[in-house]
């Protein structure tokens, strides 16, 4: 089953007088349960593609399909609902709500989804254990290290069991040991929950970690490598 399908996506930004083609007639398919890495130099279009897949940004033309549903034509409210129920996000930084504790951040999406308190508590306790944050549940983001914060963000992204997790430079602010641990965690969650992961990065360690690597340049796919086969 196809989790994500993008057809002929185009997106152009204006930088001063200059037009920057962030996506240039790009098409891509990712199967359900896939573990894909998008890599490109800065400005290569990977974040723009990730935002288009997540419904955070609309392409100028082309189609975006998530689990057989075309999303580029949805309203703001419908997109919010789709993100709430289907997609988990991990951003590069600033991805926790500072006034909430680790547990509250993790429960935030479930709370907005309307999950009852008991079930929320149970699931957040499980996921805290899964990401190795047991004992830190009452800490606020400012009281945690970068790696711990990123783990909370990952826990929040997966706790409501989305079918798709989009991560934008998730290891950019982490040391190599923490980055490795995070990628191991992603791999484990991918194999355990069959969650589709699409990770945008230019971190070589991350690229080495994933089964499918898509290289982009100037808004186009220049390489789509099955690393298992390699």
């Amino acid at each position: 089953m196809t989790a994500v399908r993008c057809v002929d996506l185009c997106k152009t930004y204006l930088q001063g007088d200059q037009e920057i083609k962030a996506l240039d007639h790009l098409s891509i398919e990712v199967d359900a349960g896939g573990f894909v890495c998008l890599s490109s130099p800065s400005g290569g279009g990977k974040t723009t593609l990730l935002n288009a897949i997540g419904g955070l940004d609309k392409p100028d033309s082309g189609e975006v399909w998530i689990e057989g549903r075309r999303i580029d034509l949805l309203s703001k409210g419908e997109l919010a609902d789709l993100r709430l129920r289907k997609i988990g996000f991990v951003f590069q930084a600033y991805n926790l709500i500072p006034v909430l504790t680790a547990r509250e951040n993790i429960e935030f999406v479930m709370q907005v989804q309307g999950v009852p308190a008991g079930a929320r508590r149970e699931r957040s306790t499980d996921i805290l254990e899964e990401v190795g944050l047991t004992g830190l549940e009452d800490r606020r983001p400012a009281q945690m290290s970068g790696g711990q914060q990123q783990r909370v963000a990952v826990a929040r992204a997966i706790v409501s069991k989305p079918t798709l997790v989009l991560a934008d430079e998730p290891t950019a602010n982490l040391d190599s040991k923490t980055a490795d641990e995070l990628m191991d965690l992603f791999s484990e969650l991918n194999s355990k929950h069959k969650t589709t992961f699409i990770i945008a990065t230019h971190d070589q360690r991350v690229m080495a970690h994933v089964p499918r690597l898509i290289r982009m340049l100037d808004g186009r796919i220049v390489d789509d490598i099955d690393q298992h086969a390699v």
């Binding site: 955070l56 919010a80 993100r83 600033y94 709500i97 509250e104 935030f108 907005v112 309307g114």
Partner: protein, 410 residues
């Protein structure tokens, strides 16, 4: 319900993120609300006192006269119905207070001076609770009945006439045939009043004595009835209207003293204007606080939108934050106002400006009057207008594009 709970939690925690800003804003709201309520109570207290004094000088919330009496208040313009009939009708109508009296202009003379005054021929027992005169605070004594042969004048008038209790004065007026009617009276009492001009202008004598002096038989110039609230005299008015015969006019006090009546209406309007003006000053601070709060949190707002929170929830969160701030400020302001009004229950002495106050018809001691309507008005204005003031920053926050908001602060 879950969403509301999470919005409440976020709003509450965000409120205390910048303690100093929130405390300053709370102080501003509290003082503003205190000023709204306290100054309104002070104004209402002053107006209330002025109206009470004014109405007590008439006195009577609803009055019956001959149709020409108001233009020419002389003894020819008598109520055609005999006093006995009026007393029988008013006595059984169930008014809080009522009285019939003669009220005409007269001239009072001592050995040294003469003055024009308003002569009130009254039944003292009926007027005890109507009058601005405290019977128990009279030098000498007050009148003992409608046929009392003495006269009670104000202390200030006694000074002017250079007379005192026990001395004789001469009272002169006109009878219905336009003949001079005069006789000597012994001053039996001197009264005091909140308003000094009352002490100068009013003199009291027995109704029966005056009826005989003016040769009017059993007729009077005025029949009055009082209700329990000077703001709501219509029920009394309707009742009096149903009691009296043709050939008389019935007026509310607001028509008899249009200055006071207009003042009451103006003051009610003034209170609303005052409350709104203070709120407008407050609203600049409130909107500024919210704009800053939103500006500082653009990234988080973008994040929450990206995670699937609907724009309407972002709108709700900012509005809840504003409402929480207002509700706490209101609570503090109300307590502050109540405390200061309670502590000044005994009155605020403004005798230093007594002359100016008296020119306005106000006494030299102000008693703040806390009315539920004014408290509700102040709280309502702050909450309702506060809600509208917070709409703009809240709306802007909810309109952010998630990805632009997240990257804006990077």
């Amino acid at each position: 319900m879950n969403t509301v709970r999470v919005l409440m939690m976020l709003a509450w925690r965000n409120l205390w993120r910048n303690h100093r800003r929130t405390l300053i804003m709370l102080a501003a709201i509290s003082v503003g609300v205190w000023a709204m309520i306290f100054m309104t109570a002070l104004t209402q207290g002053m107006v209330n006192q002025m109206i009470k004094d004014g109405v007590s000088a008439l006195p009577g919330h609803v009055q019956v006269h001959h149709p020409d009496y108001r233009d020419d208040p002389n003894i020819s313009n008598l109520i055609p119905t005999p006093d006995a009939v009026l007393k029988a009708k008013f006595g059984t109508a169930g008014f809080d207070q009522w009285a019939t009296r003669i009220k005409v202009p007269a001239v009072i003379s001592s050995e040294r001076e003469s003055r024009g005054v308003t002569l009130l021929g009254i039944d003292p027992a009926r007027e005890r609770d109507l009058s601005f005169v405290d019977y128990d605070d009279v030098d000498g004594r007050f009148l003992e009945g409608p046929d009392d042969n003495g006269i009670v004048i104000g202390r200030k008038l006694a000074d002017t006439l250079d007379t005192e209790v026990g001395k004789r004065i001469v009272l002169m007026s006109q009878d219905p045939d336009n003949d001079i009617a005069d006789r000597g009276f012994r001053v039996v009492g001197l009264f005091g009043a909140n308003i000094q001009s009352y002490e100068e202008n009013y003199v009291f004598a027995g109704k029966g004595t005056i009826q005989r002096l003016l040769k009017v038989g059993d007729l009077v110039t005025e029949a009055v009835a009082m209700g329990s609230d000077y703001r709501d005299v219509d029920p009394v008015y309707e009742k009096v209207l149903a009691l009296v015969d043709d050939g008389v006019v019935v007026n509310r006090w607001t028509e008899l003293d249009s200055y006071l009546g207009t003042m009451l209406a103006v003051m009610d309007g003034f209170v609303l204007v005052w409350v709104i003006v203070i709120f407008l000053a407050l609203s600049f601070g409130l909107v500024n606080t919210l704009v800053m709060a939103v500006f500082e949190r653009i990234r988080e707002i973008g994040l929450m939108l990206a995670l699937g929170m609907r724009p309407s929830s972002i709108l709700g969160q900012i509005i809840i934050e504003s409402m929480l701030l207002l509700v706490i400020g209101l609570a503090l302001g109300n307590v502050l106002a109540w405390g200061s009004i309670e502590s000044l229950k005994g009155g605020i002495d403004v005798s230093i400006v007594a002359e100016g106050m008296e020119m306005m018809g106000a006494a030299s001691v102000l008693y703040p009057q806390l009315r539920l309507e004014d408290v509700v008005l102040a709280n309502g204005v702050v909450l309702i207008l506060g809600f509208f003031a917070s709409l703009s920053p809240a709306w802007r926050a909810s309109r952010y594009q998630p990805i632009e908001a997240i990257t804006k602060a990077d």
